[in-house]
């Protein structure tokens, strides 16, 4: 029973989404309607938040819209910024002058490799996409190997080689000492060819302490980042709840809560009957 109801709700939402798309296509609502945007944004924002109650059709609807829309969004962005300007712009510069490039015939190679990549959709010739993948893997390995060697190893090691005794500054001396000890001990912790016992064990344990502080700091940043996003969404909902926005978020929230409550009571009733 419950599943059928949710299927009807989902199909209803699809109908609404399709109707909105058709309206956009024919009447061009998107050109001028800011208020309408608040309604759409409120439905989707509250739909995602409804997951806090439990997995429900509002959330599933919003989640699936997100998957579809974001896939097409990134395709469009990637195509117009790369293929249009950098590929067509070099192969057909007269027809695609927006890239500001001159003709370069070598760009036929990435075009061919790109088409090979799409061959993956056809199982019988899907193996040919390995050539494109091989190009990407080889290029990335060559570029990043040197890049990481330079930035992650050489530069980090260079900055760690600090004077342990800084004349006239006890604080800097202590900080530099802690930094050197921290980096060396944490690196030793990752050395697994020798058992962590005795002096080696003590040093690697000191390394764990530094790593834990680092993880704590990263965790703190992650929490703060998410909270600031959350504040942003609440700010949006408050804005969408004002009279000038048609109190969109309030109306949508009330409707969603009512639907979820009714369904919860129905589920409870059918569970008791069973």
């Amino acid at each position: 029973m419950s599943r059928d109801v949710w299927t009807v709700v989902a199909l209803g939402m699809i109908a609404v989404l399709t109707a909105l798309t058709v309206m956009f296509l024919s009447w061009g609502i998107g050109n001028h309607s800011v208020g309408f945007g608040f309604w759409v944004g409120s439905v989707l924002t509250l739909g995602i938040f409804s997951y806090l109650y439990k997995d429900n059709p509002f959330y599933k609807f919003a989640e699936h819209v997100f998957v579809g829309v974001s896939a097409a969004y990134w395709i469009a962005i990637a195509y117009w910024t790369q293929i249009d300007r950098n590929l067509w712009g070099r192969l057909l510069p007269e027809q695609f002058p927006q890239g500001g490039h001159e003709f370069n015939g070598f760009y036929i190679i990435p075009l061919i490799l790109g088409i090979f990549m799409l061959c993956r959709l056809i199982p019988s010739i899907g193996w040919i996409s390995r050539w494109s993948l091989a190009f990407i893997v080889g290029l990335y390995a060559g570029l990043r190997m040197y890049g990481f060697l330079q930035s992650n190893i050489m530069e980090q090691a260079r900055d760690t080689l600090r004077p342990i005794i800084v004349p006239g500054s006890l604080v800097d001396s202590i900080n530099n000492f802690l930094l050197v000890v921290g980096v060396l001990s944490a690196l030793l912790y990752f050395f697994f060819s020798k058992e962590h016992k005795g002096v080696f064990g003590v040093v690697s344990r000191v390394g764990i302490f530094f790593l834990m502080i680092s993880f704590g700091a990263s965790f703190g940043f992650a929490v703060m980042g998410r909270i600031s996003l959350l504040i942003g969404r609440f700010d949006y909902l408050i804005q969408a709840g004002t009279p000038s926005a048609g109190r969109a978020s309030v109306v949508v929230a009330v409707i969603m809560i009512l639907v979820l409550l009714i369904q919860a009571f129905k589920d409870k009733g059918s569970a008791e009957e069973a």
């Binding site: 989404l17 309408f36 579809g68 896939a71 040919i128 060559g142 190997m145 944490a186 502080i213």
Partner: protein, 227 residues
Amino acid sequence: MLWKTQIPVAIVFAVGMLTLIQWFVPHWPFDQIQVHTTQWFDIIAVFAVILGGLNLLKLQLQKVISRGRDWPYALVTIVGFLAMMVYGFSPVGVPEGIRLGDHLQANGSHFRWMFFNVFTPLSATMFALLAFFVASASYRAFRVRNAEATLLLVAGIILMLGRVPLGAKMTAFLPHFMQLPTVQEWIYAVPNLAGARAIMIGIGLGMVSTSLRFILGIEKSFLGGDE
């Protein structure tokens, strides 16, 4: 075997070696390698993105046709995908006088409207939702069980409190070096940096060795299972 395995491995070796050589020989023609191959990389990556989108469409269509589990939602994905594709690639909803392609950023275009009213609310809320799960995860992570967990707890709390006005107000009566904003700054600049630096060096070493394994053909996982 030759076409499916040996040629891809040879391509990785040739491209990887050429890219490596250009770092050490900054003269023509090697100096051109980085300029153009990174562009090639971006172009091929776009085809990979397109492949991903088409694959998504294929899977969702299969789900709808076979009436698989939750198939109505697959229809939602298809409608969302097609709607955004129409606004992204057709003249529909492109303001007059704006070239197709420039409409992505143009005021009044449907694509831009979809970005601000559909894509942004969805992506921002999806990540904001994680705040609640991070809260429950913090409860589990921050339960003090041993010295290491205590350090994680203390560092995390000091960093969070020290970066908001509340933290500064709470410790305003203490000497400057003991106030939370100062302490968090020190934690961030010294012990956190030491730990993070060790991790970065470890990542760097791992990256170098993995890249070498790929270039030399020792690592062939990118070929998939049936090599």
